[in-house]
Symmetry: C2
Subunit: 106 residues, 2 copies
Amino acid sequence: MSIREDQVKALANETRIEVLRVLTDPARYFSAQESADPVKFGVCVHLLAAHFEVSQPTMSRHIELLKRAGFIQAKRQQKWTYCSRNEAALTDYANWLKASLSIQDA
Amino acid sequence: MSIREDQVKALANETRIEVLRVLTDPARYFSAQESADPVKFGVCVHLLAAHFEVSQPTMSRHIELLKRAGFIQAKRQQKWTYCSRNEAALTDYANWLKASLSIQDA
DNA sequence: TTGACAATTAGCATATTTGCTATATGTCTA
DNA sequence: TAGACATATAGCAAATATGCTAATTGTCAA
């Protein structure tokens, strides 16, 4: 499976898309996170699980797929894994999609 | 299922992505089509099936999904169904994806 | 070093996707 | 009208995706 296929598949799920969305504004959704500043460090897996009302292992797998696609990075800090968007990878993907499908500008 | 979900799912398959790709240059891949000019009218389903070496019903379903996503249009003409890209829908989708995920410019 | 908590991994059930063949429908021509 | 050919639909099998619970691993603090 190529990185591009991983990326395309990663976006083929509503929950994962929503994860990328809420991570654009961690302050808005995860101000309850006390272990670390959600804006500076990212959001930990169990808070994401709680937000989307899925089990923690389920969110863990979604995060794994988003990581494999390169769309988020996750850094372990003490007992938490803080997730944040990889803006460069998202931009790169959007540009690849447009170019590879020869999609014209608006 | 929303149109956006249909679109995201439609792209989550390598064959369907390739269909959109080859339809950018029908002259290159489908000059053998004699019933109608592949550039002006589009490419018929069975030639697409032959090109990708899948059965005709399988290609028919892929086309159906691409149609539901709005990415291609298919017009029946005599016994053929000519498929062509819907550039406006593809552009719209690419723009939506960028905006909806807050993806920055390159 | 034990207990609590976050995260991951394993294993399973269910749903969805994707391919096929067989069959039906549509369209034209001999 | 019978046939040939393009397409669509139905139905099935295999693969993949997605959710869960249970169990394991990692980290820290009492």
